[in-house]
């Protein structure tokens, strides 16, 4: 019997980020329009494995997802042991644009979730012309915090357990159990301090409330989709953001939470396939 092998290929690309060498892991599947996918804080590119094995997607899109440095199989840069990891708007944007440039992606589409969704807004503000279309999942220009980040990295609390347990509440109750726990496994697998370091971008460095009004969707279409059970980036956060952007589209996704692509892939594709079709139709 033939082995069942996913049509996903993983490789490493060497990038210079912040003046330092990085070996960045990425996976890809499919052919056609490049579609870069950005994982959530404290997770990695495995969140997009369902999209990469969905032929309705991969027949028309070359889906690529990379692990941010310090995440998944992208090890931190040399000397990491002497520093505290902190993602910033600048370092995040540099990683994305360097990845796209290194792979010579021709005006890719890009989809980001959570911090990736927040970064979608920054890319729309500053670099929209570089992208064919931008999709923000669980994206808003600002969100009210709901816990103290210091709990994520302490000697008396297991960082992986607390990270996974906190985000477990962001998954909709309708999520299949296997998908729920696979989503949480990525958080349970994350190194100490990485989730917290990602959220530096979210909480401290990435407040775009004063800037989203500058987004010009005629330069780059922008689609915003948020799960109804997401209380971190709540639907009203996304809808408020969309109201600031002339012509932006926002959709509230039923029976989904903060991790639509991994917590309930079947439900998510009902929302994302029409968006991808529109991007494809626009050429």
């Amino acid at each position: 019997m033939a082995a069942r092998i996913d049509p996903i290929i993983g490789r490493y690309v060497h990038l210079t980020l912040g003046g330092r060498e990085h070996r960045v892991y990425f996976e890809e599947a499919g052919r056609g329009i490049p579609l870069i996918c950005l994982h959530t804080a404290g997770a990695d590119s495995r969140q997009f494995r369902h999209l990469m094995t969905d032929r309705a997607v991969t027949e028309h899109f070359r889906v690529l997802a990379f692990d941010l440095p310090w995440h998944g199989k992208s090890t931190p840069p040399e000397g990491w042991q002497n520093e505290e990891y902190r993602l910033t708007t600048r370092s995040y944007a540099e990683a994305i644009r360097s990845f796209a440039a290194a792979l010579e992606l021709d005006k890719p589409a890009l989809m980001g979730c959570s911090i990736g969704g927040r970064m979608v807004l920054h890319l729309a503000i500053e670099h929209g012309a570089e992208f064919r279309a931008l999709i923000g999942l669980e994206a808003a220009d600002f969100q009210e915090p709901w816990y103290d980040l210091d709990w994520l990295h302490r000697s008396d609390v297991d960082s992986s357990e607390i990270s996974a347990a906190l985000v477990s509440g962001l998954i909709a109750p309708q999520a299949p159990q296997a998908a729920r726990w696979e989503t949480l496994w990525l958080y349970l697998s994350s190194a100490p301090g990485v989730f917290k370091g990602d959220l530096h971008f979210y909480r401290v460095d990435g407040d775009f409330r004063e800037q989203v009004g500058k987004i010009d969707i005629t330069a780059c279409p922008l689609y915003l989709l948020t799960g109804e059970y997401d209380f971190s980036c709540a639907p009203e956060d996304t809808l408020r953001t969309a109201r600031q952007i002339k012509g932006a589209e926002a959709t509230v996704m039923k029976e989904l939470g903060h991790f639509p692509m991994s917590e309930n892939p079947a439900q998510f594709r009902r929302y994302i396939l029409p968006v991808l079709e529109r991007i494809r139709a626009a050429g």
Binding site: W146, E161, A165, L166, S168, G169, P173, F231
Partner: protein, 129 residues
């Protein structure tokens, strides 16, 4: 306060202690906490993941390390079989002001999977199936 809701909650020791998986998850947990159901305080002693005692208050000089207090409507919605958005998780409730978490919350945060399951255990009884 609905009698159904308090009766349901007072079965918490059975719901937790009969759940081997949950007791195993909490095997490192021994703590006193307070759970507020509307204006009724319940003092809960957990020993190695099992609920040793659940005492309906108020009582004088009750001891607790952390407290989770919510109004009856919030708990009722939290315990539905499929809770509606913003009532499905402790922190979702807290963010909206439906629930207050206070005190020395280190045991809660260090064992958050366990306590989320304990505090949602009545869902098995009150769910609108």
């Amino acid at each position: 306060m609905s009698r159904d809701l308090t009766e349901c909650f007072e079965r918490l020791p059975m719901l937790v202690n009969d759940n081997q998986r949950l007791v195993h998850r909490g095997r490192l947990v021994s703590v006193d906490l307070l759970i507020g159901l509307g204006d009724i305080p319940y003092y809960v002693r957990i020993e190695r993941g099992r609920i040793a005692t659940l005492t309906r208050g108020p009582k004088l000089m009750g001891i607790w390390r952390f407290a989770v207090r919510g109004n009856a409507e919030s708990w009722r919605k939290h315990w539905q079989s499929v809770p509606e958005p913003h009532f499905h998780d402790l922190f979702a409730l807290a963010k909206r002001g439906h629930l207050v978490i206070e005190g020395d919350v280190q045991p809660l945060m260090a064992n958050l999977f366990y306590f989320k399951d304990v505090l949602s255990a009545p869902r098995r009884l009150t769910g609108e199936h």
